[in-house]
Symmetry: C2
Subunit: 316 residues, 2 copies
Amino acid sequence: MSTITVPVPTPSPTEDSEQLRKAVEGWGTNEDLIIQILGHRTAAQRNLIRQTYFQLYGEDLLKRLESELSSDFERAVFLWTLDPADRDAVLAHEAIRRWNPKNKSLLEISCARTSAELLMVRQAYHIRYKKSLEEDIAAHTTGDFRKLLVALVSSYRYEGPEVDMHLARAEAKQLHEAITEKAVNHEEVIRIISTRSKPHLNATFNHYRDEYGHHINKALKSESPDDFQDALRIVIRCICCPEMHFTKVLRLSMEKIGTDEFALTRVVVTRAEIDMKHIKENYFKRTSKKLEHAIAADTSGDYQDLLLTLIGKDDA
Amino acid sequence: MSTITVPVPTPSPTEDSEQLRKAVEGWGTNEDLIIQILGHRTAAQRNLIRQTYFQLYGEDLLKRLESELSSDFERAVFLWTLDPADRDAVLAHEAIRRWNPKNKSLLEISCARTSAELLMVRQAYHIRYKKSLEEDIAAHTTGDFRKLLVALVSSYRYEGPEVDMHLARAEAKQLHEAITEKAVNHEEVIRIISTRSKPHLNATFNHYRDEYGHHINKALKSESPDDFQDALRIVIRCICCPEMHFTKVLRLSMEKIGTDEFALTRVVVTRAEIDMKHIKENYFKRTSKKLEHAIAADTSGDYQDLLLTLIGKDDA
């Protein structure tokens, strides 16, 4: 469930554009007004505002905002205002350019989106970067990670509820054997994880637990995990319980000294309109702390205001 | 260019449905009338006829036609009348169920369609078979073929004209090394072939010829080709000159004793509305024989009439 609140009646895109123009024109910038407008509009509404703003003033609102704002706040406003598929294309491109096996963006984009959403990300990537997403990943990564990531971003998983239990049992066994033999980079593991539907994989993981006495992610952890095993665990979490994955990323982004603003921003902007309510509940269960309090303690200024607006500070 | 001719004015979908109803009702079936209508309508028109027929008579026109017709004619009418993406899903499913490394359907569907068309095939496959196309291929094939086919059907190639010549030269060299070292199943070969855009690959193959003195497909042939090398050659032809590939398939389907009706039907129904004019010209250049004469000599009856209608017998 979304944590975005939209005022009723909603101002027209023209009114919003005029207000945003005032916020960026002249001396100084009115950051509060920017948050008040863009932080309280849905993706479709923000999209319309960008189009209207361009028609009225002949400039790209996002370019203007980038030139007026700075640092974490700039990045958060930029990513938030983008169309979700285009935002994912930007996040994917960042991840590919500074490729690091610990980066989670590509795993989230490929596994915690619907099949149709992932296709739209691939289309947005074409338009923005004049390449295909899988083409850039394949050219910039190597080895097991390349096999896994190319397969994941290229997948178009079936989304119906049908599950072949016989197959799920057989594949749980294959996964168990691969883990036992410390061969989790085996092509059968990648095939199962990257092509099967989410309901089928859930059935497979459930059977795994029933048969072998622990969750598959426990098994992947206890084997002195490397980056590839960590990636598989993230894939599995993004498939079977995305809200748990995002809760964990939020927790890790704030629990150490020094905040990981890249991760914090990414989770807030990509999940605010999807399952942030659920993530907030989960966060509280897991840490006995409200997410808004954690964010308030770790951030400041306009950046803090925007994040708190997006996670719905008032309805906690 | 299409070889389908549509009468002007075109009868309404209701008139067409009524005529088709007459053709299948009562004693005997009026095959001529079926060809006269369906053989002279575009994909969009056939689609509307199917919808209208269902509304008028509460039965699926295709199911009715299947029950009234038989053998090669039945299969040709069925495949022709299907929506193109759905037809490709059916052809892909047939190829997967009777998997044989010499089967060309999956290579054609993944390489001789536009990126958007291939996505629509994947969507149609979900609806028809409750699985994803790549999921079924991955589960029913093995080894190098699996790597190649899964990568090809999952690709969503960029379609813009931009080519990085530096990259094209580097990748031509990689391909040449793989062929020289008899390692054409190398993952870099599959990466290049399955992720790069068609304009990029054309530049790569052109550079290959300029630099090494022969077309890459010659090199792949002279190395005592196996099924995998043959598949790569088909992929390359489907990417750089699909009309030459389809001309060759037509030629092979009819040049031996006994016609390969599966291949003949597939090429005629999948290319009639795309590039059949070009294929006919090519066929004549290559064989000094008109395609309509070859088909007339190798087939008979209603099946022959339908094929000749689809390739535009009158405008040769």
